[in-house]
Amino acid sequence: MLVLRRRAGEALLIGDEIEIELLAVSAHSAKIGIRAPKDTVVLRKELKVTQEQNVRAAQGPVPAEMARALEKLRLRTQEPAPHPDKPIEN
């Protein structure tokens, strides 16, 4: 990974069309401005990770896999949590 040190107000370029500007820094976060072509997708990484994980979660399991997985989970979850969330009664 390329590591650069920048101060607030300074910018950097990625290729010819993408500009990243460091707008402000504080103890816990940095405010970043991005100039990029409209067709460039800019996403917070954790959103992309969540999208991919949701697609995986929605794919399965098939019932047979679920039965196996539940069996494993049952072994793990026999001890109830001290203050479990109360799901709404169906």
Binding site: T50, A58, R68, K86, P87
Partner: protein
């Protein structure tokens, strides 16, 4: 009583109190804005988040404390506001909000839970969203069962 076609249980009757409104959908499923929470005693504490519009879309989930009994909420102010919750403090699990970790199981591997982006439901309004944490305190693939040992 209305009924819904489900992925795992055929056609199931449900009550309106079990329906949750996801105004923004879930990431990658932005158009799915209405889910019903199904439980079956046989599978407890597993719950099923079934899309009302799409029978083939059903997430498996655990109440988050089942996965990690010490789990600390880290819902952003934006997400708290979108859920009509106080933004000055984290809500109380179980009374103000129901928090679910979505499960992934594939290819016979051990199931994992997404603790980085739990589904948070405001129990008063039944409004819900997937609250993505910006910190790196929790994994999106947290193992929820020990791998099977050699036989």
């Amino acid at each position: 009583m209305p009924s819904v076609n489900t992925k795992y249980f055929g056609t199931v009757d449900y009550c309106q109190e079990s329906v949750f409104d996801f105004p923004f959908g879930l990431p990658a499923f932005e158009h799915e804005t209405s889910f019903v929470l199904l439980e079956s005693p046989e599978h407890a504490p597993l719950v099923f988040l079934q899309s009302l519009a799409e029978a083939s879309l059903c997430f498996l989930a655990f109440p988050i404390l089942v996965v990690d009994r010490a789990y600390q909420l880290g819902i952003s102010k934006d997400d708290l506001a979108a859920l009509d919750l106080e933004t000055t403090h984290q809500p109380v699990l179980g009374t103000e909000v129901l928090v679910l970790a979505l499960l992934s199981v594939h290819d016979g591997s051990s199931p994992t839970a997404n603790l980085m982006a739990p589904v948070v439901i405001n129990l008063r309004t039944r409004r819900a969203l997937q609250a993505i944490r910006g910190d790196r305190l929790y994994s999106h693939v947290h193992p929820v069962a020990a791998p099977e040992g050699p036989c």
